[in-house]
């Protein structure tokens, strides 16, 4: 094999002459450098949102707060950083594929399965929720439970289903959402404490809660019918409000005009009465002549108005043969 390579002459460049350093100095220098490197490898920083967990030969020895710290080098002490201040989040029933101003969501098959659950009245619902939590106890979180996060997911699914299973579909969909979120949070915290998982549940928020797609139209129909009911009632009230004030006005008008009539009637009566009284008083002083005068004045007026006047002698008894009444009427 070696003969396949072309002969290459290796030339080692000659080192330039260095000034002589005493062997003692080199020794000291080397020791110093090694010591420095060792020291440097022992320093570490913990950022403000974390806590450091130090294990010496695998045994937990201490927790360290944020800041610059020193641990024994050479792997004698090992450091694990745990983000205790960070608000962590898990999503159920959906996944955020790209967070941002307009976050994008997706529902992969396994996430869809997380959401399907039964309500207490044996209906099926798709319930999506998120849970926000913090690692409260790094020691428990690291050393009490393997796969603490996966366990927390399982706990979430179990607790949410248990709580939803004790409520009716209507409660879950409408009235009970806030109450349920609190209930689940409390139950979940209880379970966390029992499991010594070291997690503090901050908040549980239900996102979309929907009936399955197959039955969605009928749920929508219920909403529609609710709207329809409100609309019909509103329409009836509108009619009511439209007609009643009008009728009240008309009624008021009738009453007012009756009152007007009353006033008129009484006034007229009073006027007529005064007139009659006045006439009577003067009449009483000279009844005979006044009576004649009134009669004649009236006759005078009436006679002027009347078109056909037939005057008969008092002795003539039968007038009819003389008149052709039909002809007169035709004219």
């Amino acid at each position: 094999m070696s003969q396949e390579f072309p002969n290459i002459e290796f030339r080692i460049p000659k080192m330039p002459k260095l000034p002589k350093i005493p062997a003692k100095a080199i020794q000291i220098g080397l020791v110093a450098i090694v010591a420095l490197v060792i020291l440097a490898s022992g320093f570490y920083t913990v950022s403000p949102d974390e806590m450091g967990v130090i294990q010496r030969f695998g045994k937990f020895v201490r927790l360290t707060d944020p800041g610059l710290h020193f641990k024994l080098p050479f792997g004698i002490e090992a450091l694990t950083k745990v983000p205790v201040q960070q608000q962590l989040k898990q999503e159920f029933g959906f996944r955020t594929t790209r967070p941002g101003i307009h976050s994008e969501f997706a529902v992969p098959a396994d996430a869809a399965k997380e959401a399907v659950m039964l309500t207490g009245d044996l209906n099926v619902l798709n319930v999506e929720w998120i849970v926000q939590y913090k690692i409260k106890d790094p020691y428990k979180f690291l050393f009490k439970m393997r796969e603490a996060q996966a366990t927390f997911r399982d706990m979430n699914e179990a607790v949410v289903r248990r709580v939803i299973g004790d409520n009716s579909v209507d409660e879950v969909l409408t009235t009970g959402r806030d109450r349920l979120a609190h209930e689940v949070r409390d139950e979940l915290q209880k379970l966390c404490n029992a499991y010594e998982i070291g997690i503090d549940v901050l908040q549980l928020i239900f996102q979309d809660i929907n009936p399955p797609d197959q039955v969605k139209p009928s749920f929508n129909d219920v909403n529609e019918s609710l709207q329809e009911r409100e609309r019909k009632i509103n329409e009836a009230w509108a009619e009511y409000n439209n007609e009643i004030p009008k009728a009240t006005g008309v009624a008021e008008q009738a009453i007012r005009s009756a009152e007007g009539y009353a006033t008129e009637r009484v006034n007229n009566a009073k006027g007529d009465a005064s007139r009659f009284t006045a006439v009577y008083q003067s009449y009483a002083q000279a009844p005979l002549v006044t009576r004649k005068r009134l009669y004649l004045e009236t006759m005078n007026e009436v006679m002027q108005k009347i078109g056909k006047k037939i005057i008969m002698d008092g002795s003539q008894k039968n007038l009819l043969p003389l008149l052709n009444l039909n002809e007169e009427v035709k004219k």
Binding site: A150, A158, R161, S168, I244, Y261, V279, Y283, I306
Partner: protein, 314 residues
């Protein structure tokens, strides 16, 4: 022995010592526990405290086991409930190696333990599910649902059935039964939870049909409520209209009647002064108004008005 060979010998001895020591010392992590075996035979009890420990080099072996709670998830099982509903049930539990020695002897490692747990917990879950109605697996108390507006008469038979145990207690039963068996292989179970309960597809279809029917009932209730309520309001309106109109009529009649009475009283008081004069005046007035141009008036010369036509009368 020259100084050089002595030095070499020293180095060899030191190296050997390091190698021996390296095999004698072992580190137990906070998450682990260890069983020492000598040629495959377990020696002594389990080492559960973390830190540095010693063993006989080469002839003894350190076997590591987890000390933490470990995960186990059951397969989705299709199981019929007591009321013959076919459902998928998924459970999970958390377990740990409580007796590493027994664990090591009986199941060797976690894989072995997981498969035993599959048998035991799944088996107990099956038994439990088959012994209870579906509602027992879903509900965990007998709390009465908040009666929202929508809650109309439902299929009372199954939905409102009272539960005897409920989900929590059934999970506890599974746990208790399984936990009696698992110490046989050095395992302790912490908690069994029923994670998911879902209808199998064929049942699901029927459930959806039921849900749809239920919604339709609610929707038609709303619709008829809308009709009813609006009719009620219209009736109320009619009643109100009639009341307003009749009240107005009554009031108007009262007012006018009173006025008529008043007028009558006034007239009577005045005309009673001389009823005959009143009759005379009124008659004259009616002559004025009722006799017009097309009236034929046939008068006899005997009448008072014309009696002077024939003679001055004196």
């Amino acid at each position: 022995m020259s100084a050089k060979t002595r030095n070499i010998l020293l180095i060899v001895v030191a190296l050997a010592a390091v190698i021996v020591l390296a095999d004698a010392v072992f580190i137990v992590n906070e998450t682990n526990q260890v069983i020492i075996t000598q040629f495959g035979e377990p020696i002594g009890g389990a080492i559960v405290t973390a830190g540095v420990h010693l063993k006989m080099p080469f002839i003894q072996k350190a076997n590591y086991f987890e000390k933490r709670w470990l995960e186990w998830e059951g397969d989705a099982n299709q199981i019929p409930t007591k009321d013959k509903k076919y459902i998928w049930v998924e459970t999970y539990c958390r377990w740990r190696i409580s007796n590493p020695l027994v664990f090591f002897q009986r199941v060797q490692d976690e894989r072995g333990a997981q498969s035993r747990l599959d048998d035991i917990v799944d088996g107990e879950a099956r038994n439990a599910v088959a012994n209870y109605d579906l509602i027992e697996l879903v509900r965990s108390s007998n709390r009465v649902f908040e009666q929202s507006e929508e809650a109309v008469a439902k299929d009372a038979s199954e939905v409102l059935a009272k539960i005897a145990l409920g989900r929590d207690k059934i999970a506890k039963i599974i746990l208790e039964k399984a936990d009696k068996i698992t110490p046989e292989f050095g395992v302790e179970i912490k908690d069994v939870q029923i994670k998911r309960v879902n209808y199998v597809d064929e049942v699901q279809k029927k459930v959806f049909e039921r849900m749809i029917a239920e919604r339709q009932r609610i929707a038609s209730k709303y619709r008829s409520e809308g009709d009813g309520k609006s009719a009620e309001i219209r009736g109320q309106k009619e009643k109100e209209l009639k009341r307003i109109q009749s009240e107005a009529y009554r009031k108007a009649q009262e007012v006018m009647g009173k006025a008529d009475a008043e007028a009558t009283r006034i007239y009577a008081a005045a005309y009673n002064l001389d009823p005959e004069l009143y009759q005379f005046l009124k008659t004259l007035e009616s002559y004025r108004t009722s006799l017009a141009k097309d009236t034929w008036l046939i008068l006899s010369t005997d009448s008072e008005f014309l009696k002077f036509l024939k003679s001055s009368g004196r």
